[in-house]
Amino acid sequence: MRFDKTEISLAAVAIALVLFGFVSPGWLIFLLTIAFAKALVVQGVVMQMRSGLVSFGQGLFYCIGGYTVGMGGQFFGIHDAIAALSLGMLVAIAVAMVLGLLLTRYRDIFFAMLSLAFSMILFGILVKSPELGSTDGFNVHNWTIFGWAPDGGESSQHTVFTLTILAGLVIAVLIHRYTKAGIGVICEAVRENEVRVEYLGLSPRWLLYGNYVSAAAVSALGGGLTALATGHVDPEMAYWTTSGEFIFIALLGGLGHVAAPFIAAVVFSVVRTYAIELVPHTWQMILGFTLLGVIVFLPKGLWSLVSRKKAGERA
């Protein structure tokens, strides 16, 4: 197997981050863990954006991933983190395979609204389930990894952080290969002109279906990691504002590169956490202006800063 430049740099950054985890303060590790876990969900959104579909309901799979990890430990005795995360992805894939049959028949705003509707249905079901804690949710704890139980506090925080970085690396490499491969390029062609793709003898619908299902799996992994890191899940994970946050991060980063969602998620978390600290009454305004600024000055997201520089060097 040969690795290209992007993959090698991704791996180098991942190793550097894991090492950085050993010297940085707890709050920063937590912030980065959540940012990278959310970035995985954003990768799911971006995968669909690349093929021209905007999912306003990616919170559905984020929530499925989180709740599977939580319920696995609480009710089914699945305490192994890797098993629980994989189970979350499998559940998300199963759900996506059913919903995808309907959703891939729709485009544009109709797809967006239908995806939103399904995530709000899950929200509604969870809110009406008192045995799952209704809106209060429940705690996720006592998980192990290959039979080894991290002894609370810092050790478990480091474990989730490392796990998130590794998961992020694997997913990033896979998505990078996918977008560079023929099928990934055709996804962009579907966005540009679906009829033409059909005339080429390909089925855009099944392409989108496969894309939708894989995006669901990636998002569920992000949800599961968030649940492990936070130690709590609640139905808010499926609420439309959560899905909106993922689109916010996707627009912030842009579709230019597989690394963009990760960078955008970190920038988003840092801006938000300092906005809350410095202007506790108007922090939402700071976030709004940030997005406005990016849309006006960098319509292709933060990644265009990097890609423009490259283009300039070549010229």
Partner: protein, 437 residues
Amino acid sequence: MKNNKTTFSKYLVSGVAALALTAGLASGASAAENGKFRIGIVTFLSGPAAGPFGVPSANAAKVLVEALNKGELPAPYNKIGINGAEIEAVIIDEAGGATKQVEEYRNLVQRQKVDAVIGYVSSGDCLAVAPVAEELKTFTIAYDCGTSRLFVENSDAKYMFRTGLDASVDNIGAVRYLAATRPDVTRLSGIQQNYSWGQDSWADFTAAAAKLLPESEIVEEQFPKIYQGQYGAEISALSVKRPEIVHSSFWGGDMEALVLQANARGLLEDATGLLTCGEASLATYKDQAPNGMIIGARGPFGAFAPENELNTWFKGVYNAAYDLDPVYPATKMAQAILGLKFAAENAGLADKEIPTADQLAAGLKGASFPSVSGTVEMARGNGHQAMQGISYGEYHYEDGKASIVNSVSFSGECVTPPEGVSAADWIAQGFPGAQCN
């Protein structure tokens, strides 16, 4: 030209990003010890819960911290700040959900280096933060959240405390008030927001009513979604069943909207409203709520707080600063801060010494301290949960002034399950061991 624009925007965005990141690292380093006692205060500053709960609470915290730093409180709280050390309050917004609150809690403790955290209106946030408080070994007081699961699921808590009462107490108290003042009611109904708070409140209320008002029946229940704002259909559904009592755990804007609409439609003339959180809007109903509507304050807080030196003082400074009487969330915030101060000064430290989390926890566990609401006994949840009485009364509006009449108080032992017994079991067994005055 195009080139200039791209360079400009490039610098702008990278500048902002760099600024944010360096600000991050810089302030992480600068949060050093400065001899002050830092309190993280978390409550809603935005969203629907900000108006009724968050803002009065934050306002109460501000006046109290200011007065404490000047040593203006009546005895026994007349020492400056916390144990002589000046207080520095860091107020942050609770909006945004449990994941974000866990992140912000860690930021408060690990980056801002607060010595204690007081906060949380939302039960979900309380449940999410409790294990983190134990993990980071940080003294934390939940001042308002109402879930009775808090110390059931965190039964071995060391650092998490709650100085407010849980939602079961509200609803057991409400039924006891009905049994004491209207023992003949038979037709009960309810309208609740469809989320944990509303569901739990209604479950406790109906279970308690089945025991204490055995003649009564539930004629109608409605669960509109939270923040719906328009209750025409629900009010009609309630009206046609001719209930005598309409119980609701609504709060904030939803509650005010319900009262306004139900009153205009005549529902509250035929039936008596019973609002467990009703006191929070005492000053805003004016003539839009009928006289005789039963309201509560989730404990002896706000307008139900007893006359004592501390409360008179607190009402005075709050009124002077904001031109309003403190509502129950404000009283509860004051109570949590006094609890923290009591814990610090109960630990037997030298003057100006900043207590550790363990010393604070030891100081508050099982203690009983004087507060704006009377004496608070930390008598439940292994000494981590406050036990207090609860009062209900009727709204009365006359000559432009709202007041509460026919108030009845029930002691803590009358409305609180014994240690180790869940509220649901206690109610189902018929309140064994309850001591009512």
